[in-house]
């Protein structure tokens, strides 16, 4: 078992028993569900919208080379720079070099999961550059020295009281648990940062090929400030974010907003496509796009798993996931949590180290049901499991277990004998009151359950005796 798996099991067990955590998350997800349902009802045909989004993303991902080059060309035509980063290190290095060359001392960031993925913040801070997260949720977790709990709602695990205490300690000028006043305090602090930062870093919800622009949505307007106030704007995006046409946003933007938060459209929808042009009065002097591969091309080459790249990072699958709600976002120990994280992480960072995430699912399929781009998420979990087994990367005990299982079920007499033996064993363990103890072979089950009583006879025995007439 990998270290990551050990840590996951430990943290998951701890959070599973944390009833206060369960309650906070339940409340958060309940209000999301209500908003999301209202949001979907505003569509004439939500299913048709999902289907359209799936088609758009399919077209984009299956013609990624063409659309990325088109995007790059148009950005360059407007005087922007495009850097292709094969991995985290290259992406970090490009941005760090740029910041150093331009004498950047402060960076304001709007939310970007890719920046988490490549560990950009710590790399810049090592150079003495101050990095300020400007999304309120991200700002909160940054003040707590935590990673985002959720890709859309990074501070979902915290309640108002905890945030009030945090702000009192870290910001000083606020002592209240009134949400409006807390937001105002964060706003006061962040305004100063927006106007003193030399560099703004943003993610991109979409890279629009035919417009050569990035499409960015935020609810707090912080994205717009990051991309227009500082001298330099750096966009950090995975290569899978490209879409063919500006017109596609007509479907993708409202669907993303609805799936993400239940909103008809996110409050601030921004398109940015390059540095300030000669006839423009504002905007950054420099515009850089860093396109991050970091394992995505390998996923692209895998025809069976390719559709995982359709993901628009709305977080709907995470909200729908009963495992996420139980173990919480931090237990995963990965940038992407919940179903999409459990599908993606083993592919991007290695099946060997992260296969446990693909197994940590009851395969309930709630994720697949809600995915706005119709990624068959739980089937991909099954594929990851299959590939882990085929790579002979599973514990010996499990492999022997399934060898025995197969031997037993390939013959009904062997099956009957094995079943009889198991039931006998269960009865003996129960008679000796050993249920759930270390001496109980069924301990993994019985330590969490009142033991089931094994019946004396199987169905087939009863059927044989009375031909089912009992």
């Amino acid at each position: 078992m990998s270290n990551a798996a050990h840590e996951f099991l430990r943290s998951a067990a701890e959070k599973s028993a944390d009833l206060a955590h369960r309650q906070i998350i339940r409340r958060g997800i309940d209000s999301y569900n209500a908003a999301n349902e209202r949001g979907r009802s505003r569509f004439l045909d939500w299913e048709a919208a999902r289907l359209r989004c799936q088609e758009i993303k399919w077209e984009a991902v299956n013609n990624l080379d063409r659309y990325l080059l088109e995007f790059e060309q148009r950005v360059k035509d407007r005087g922007g720079h495009v850097f292709w980063a094969e991995n985290s290190k290259e992406a970090r290095q490009y941005i760090a070099d740029l910041a150093t060359a331009r004498g950047v001392r402060k960076v304001v960031k709007s939310k970007s999961m890719v920046s988490e993925e490549i560990h950009l913040g710590p790399a810049l801070e090592k150079l003495g550059i101050k990095v300020v997260e400007t999304d309120l949720g991200e700002y909160i977790v940054q003040l707590r020295n935590e990673t985002p709990y959720h890709i859309v709602t990074p501070a979902m695990h915290l309640n108002r009281t905890q945030i009030a205490a945090l702000f009192k300690e870290k910001l000083g000028d606020v002592d209240t648990d009134d949400p409006q006043q807390l937001v105002a305090a964060a706003r006061r602090a962040l305004r100063r940062d927006f106007f003193s930062a030399e560099m703004g870093i943003s993610g991109a919800n979409f890279l629009v090929a035919d417009a050569g622009m990035i499409a960015l949505t935020t609810n707090e307007g912080n994205g717009r400030l990051c991309t227009s106030v500082p001298r330099i704007h750096v966009v950090l995006s995975g290569i899978e974010k490209v879409i063919p046409r500006l017109q596609d946003l007509a479907t993708l933007w409202p669907v993303l907003a609805t799936a993400g938060t239940g909103q008809p459209i996110t409050c601030y929808s921004t398109l940015a496509g390059g540095p300030r042009q000669p006839n423009e009065v504002d905007g950054p002097e420099e515009f850089h796009v860093v396109l991050v591969d970091n394992g995505r091309s390998e996923l692209l080459a895998n025809v069976e798993e390719r559709e995982v790249l359709h993901c628009i990072r709305c977080g709907a699958c995470i909200n729908a996931c009963p495992v996420f709600r139980t173990v919480g976002g931090h237990s995963y120990g990965t940038t992407y949590m919940g179903p999409i994280g459990s599908v993606l992480t083993p592919r991007l960072r290695g099946l060997n180290e992260f296969q446990h995430l693909s197994y940590a699912s009851s395969l309930c399929g709630a994720c697949t049901d809600v995915c706005p781009v119709k990624i068959n998420l739980h089937h991909h979990l099954l594929h990851n499991r299959r590939d882990a087994v085929n790579a002979s990367d599973r514990p010996w005990s499990e492999r022997i277990g399934f060898m025995l299982w197969r031997w037993a079920v390939e013959d009904s007499r062997r099956f009957r004998a094995a079943g009889w033996l198991v039931r006998l064993g269960m009865r003996v363990v129960h008679r000796l009151r050993l249920d759930g103890t270390v001496l109980d072979p069924a301990r993994p089950w019985n330590k969490n359950h009142a033991a089931p009583l094994a019946p004396a006879k199987s169905f087939r025995a009863l059927w044989g005796k009375h031909n089912g007439n009992n």
């Binding site: 099991l9 998951a12 067990a13 599973s16 028993a17 369960r22 009963p322 495992v323 139980t326 173990v327 197994y359 940590a360 699912s361 009851s362 395969l363 309930c364 399929g365 709630a366 697949t368 049901d369 099954l382 990851n384 499991r385 299959r386 590939d387 087994v389 085929n390 499990e398 399934f402 060898m403 299982w405 197969r406 037993a408 079920v409 390939e410 013959d411 009904s412 099956f415 079943g419 198991v422 039931r423 993994p444 089950w445 330590k447 969490n448 359950h449 009142a450 033991a451 089931p452 009583l453 094994a454 019946p455 199987s458 169905f459 087939r460 009863l462 059927w463 044989g464 089912g468 009992n470």
Partner: protein
């Protein structure tokens, strides 16, 4: 009436045979001619779900061989029905059994689905004077798209009061080997489910999947809850006359 082959999942056969017997009672009452192909064992889902597709494949082929000649197959588990109908085609893609898998899949039905959609029966003449809540088992709900069927059947049971439990569509946390590999997570999910069942005032939680019920039952009894579990077939099998005679104890009371 048409002939029906019984597909009894391996763990029903060995651990909860009463679920199979109850299904038999209901189908007999509706005058179906039943057969139980004795060669059947397991559909292969445990291996398939754990990633052992090479081990699951011959077991799936064996299943198809046994059931290929059956006109209709009925199973008291949405999950095992899903395995055959939805997952066999993927598991057996590119093998000579692929076509057969699709064909057989169309003739395999989950029990409530069979009653309501195939046999067109809503009232099976059952009597069960209790408050009952339905847990929507994941595979039946999301893979087979079954939800109203079990409720429709329950609404026609004499004396039964149907109550809705909150979050009835949330997974109970069973998930096959997930329940033992990730016991803490699985138990916590079951615990939440048990809490919802208790909160709605139901005496019984029912479902179309005995595996969910095995899990929920183990959690409820561990909590010393008064709520009990019973498979849909267990409710539908009970008639007023049987209850008067005290012929059978309700549900799995024998196991308590």
């Amino acid at each position: 009436m048409a002939k029906v082959a019984l597909f009894i999942p391996c763990f029903v056969d060995q651990l909860t045979p009463e679920v199979g017997l109850d299904m038999v009672r209901v189908l007999r009452r509706l005058e179906f001619e039943l057969e139980f192909p004795q060669e059947q064992t397991c559909c292969g889902q445990p291996a398939f779900n754990t990633g052992y597709w090479n081990d699951a494949r011959p077991v799936a082929e064996r299943f198809l061989q046994i059931f290929r000649s059956a006109e209709q197959v009925v199973c008291p588990s949405g999950s095992c029905t899903t395995m055959v109908r939805n997952f066999y085609p993927e598991l057996l893609a590119g093998t000579p059994w692929h076509e057969e898998a699709i064909k057989v899949g169309k003739r395999v039905f989950e029990f409530s689905e069979f009653l309501v959609k195939v046999a067109n029966v809503k009232d099976v003449g059952a009597s069960f004077p209790h408050r009952v809540a339905v847990h929507d088992s994941c595979h039946a709900l999301r893979e087979l798209h079954l939800k109203p069927e079990s409720r429709e059947l329950l609404r026609h049971v004499r004396g039964l009061e149907l109550v809705e439990m909150p979050y009835s569509e949330d997974c109970c946390g069973f998930g096959g080997t997930f329940a033992t590999k990730f016991g803490a997570i699985s138990a916590a999910m079951g615990d939440a489910k048990a809490g919802y069942a208790e909160s709605c005032g139901a005496e019984y939680v029912t479902a179309t999947d005995p595996s969910c019920l095995l899990h929920i039952d183990g959690i409820l009894r561990r909590r010393k809850s008064t709520v009990r579990t019973i498979h849909l077939a267990g409710i539908l099998a009970q008639t007023a006359s049987a209850a008067e005679r005290g012929a059978r104890p309700a549900a799995r009371e024998s196991a308590r």
